[in-house]
């Protein structure tokens, strides 16, 4: 028993003004002391001993239920997470497998085509494929590197260049650089490993830059394969001058270097677009609306 017990025995059961101190000093319910005192005084003892047992059964029950509940809740959370991770892994593996298979099939198609066509025809086809971005190409060229400005200079002041300074690479920068590279004689251009074709788009969606509807993130590397004097021509272009000025004004980084033996991947298979008269009453083309059978209906959606 603590020392405070004897001191407060005389007092009536009133809560001390400093409740917390009292709580720390004497955590036992004061009721127990009162009951003990009244028992000594000869008051009738509460008869129901079994009620305590019932309460204890309830307490045990409560503990077990709470335990069960906690155990039952835990795997739900962990399972959901593990399941998602598992799904991501599976999908990644599947995607890797499929892209490997696509590569193998593409090689096979190329081989068969070389067999079927004559040597000169195949060479011409390869040339065209390389030019249009459908085939993988390799050669010397330049790599233009653009990166967002580090945002450590405006972490305190909020903005380094009056708030509106473009210290991020924006889609038009990439557009300008890509166009300047084409203008400088590039034969093949890719952005972060994403090959550009004649129908490629470079657009922005919110903060992200989309190349052919696939997001690319900084630092951006625009690789181009072309003739040896491409670098000088690019450096002399308006786009390069503008980017250099932007880079010197903001913290943006912009660099051009000559690269040997670049390999640019093939672009995604282009969607072929064709026109033809619908043959069956309910053609699958989505543009069929007025039932004009003979007019050619474009299918495949304009890109």
């Amino acid at each position: 028993m603590s020392d405070s017990g004897s001191g407060r025995g005389r007092r009536d059961r009133t809560y001390a003004p400093d409740f917390l101190t009292e709580l720390f000093r004497n955590p036992l319910d004061p009721g127990y002391e009162d009951a003990a005192r009244s028992r000594v005084a000869g008051a009738p003892v509460w008869p129901a001993r079994s009620v305590s047992a019932v309460v204890l059964v309830v307490v045990g029950f409560l503990l077990a239920v709470a335990y069960r509940q906690t155990v039952a809740e835990e795997p739900g959370r962990a399972q959901a997470r593990a399941g998602l991770v598992q799904q991501i892994r599976e999908r990644e593996e599947e995607s890797d497998r499929l892209s490997e298979r696509a590569d193998a099939l593409r090689d096979e198609v190329g081989r068969l085509r070389v067999q079927a066509l004559g040597g000169s025809e195949a060479a011409r086809l390869r040339e065209l494929e390389a030019g249009t971005g459908v085939g993988r190409v390799r050669g010397d060229g330049v790599v233009v590197r653009l990166a967002d400005a580090r945002d450590d200079q405006d972490a305190v002041t909020g903005a380094a260049d009056g708030g509106a300074g473009p210290d991020r690479v924006i889609y038009s920068d990439l557009q300008r650089v890509a166009n300047a590279l084409w203008g400088a004689g590039a034969e093949a251009v890719s952005i972060n490993g994403q090959r550009l074709t004649a129908t490629s788009t470079i657009r922005s969606a919110g903060d992200a830059i989309l190349v052919d509807f696939r997001p690319v993130t900084g630092p951006y590397e625009v690789s181009a394969i072309g003739p040896g004097e491409m670098r000088q021509r690019f450096e002399g272009s308006a786009a390069s001058a503008l980017m250099r000025q932007v880079a010197s004004k903001t913290g943006l980084s912009f660099g051009v270097r000559v690269a040997k033996d670049l390999t640019l991947p093939a672009a995604a298979e282009p969607r072929l677009r064709w026109a033809g008269p619908p043959v069956d009453p309910s053609p699958s083309g989505s543009s069929e609306s007025s039932g004009s059978r003979t007019s050619p209906s474009p299918s495949g959606g304009g890109r």
Partner: protein, 110 residues
């Protein structure tokens, strides 16, 4: 002895029956457990102090659980979230800690 047996019987009963707690009562379960633990440790300490009283034990258990649940409910309704239940846990935790310390002094004389 009877108390320990009753407690064990309750645990076994709970594990055996495995009841499902209604979703509306789930937030009150942890608080109820803490309140029940406070009542149990208070009872054990009173027993060791030789001032245990059945009525006090039963009433303190029921009122602890009810008041704790009520405070959590009130906190939910007032929109103070879990902060009132934090208060309940702190007060009951201090009491549990103090009572366990007293039990320890009784058992080990240290």
């Amino acid at each position: 002895m009877i108390a320990v047996l009753a407690l064990l019987a309750g645990v076994v009963l709970g594990l055996y029956l495995d009841p499902t707690v209604p979703a509306a009562l789930q937030p009150y379960l942890p608080i109820a457990v803490v309140a029940a633990l406070d009542a149990v440790f208070g009872g054990v300490r009173a027993k060791l102090d030789r001032i245990f009283d059945d009525k006090q034990f039963v009433v303190s258990f029921i009122s602890n659980v009810l008041v704790a649940g009520l405070i959590v409910y009130l906190g939910d309704q007032l929109g103070v979230g879990g902060q009132l239940s934090t208060g309940v846990v702190v007060v009951l935790g201090v009491r549990i800690f103090g009572n366990v310390a007293a039990i320890r002094r009784h058992l080990f004389r240290a």
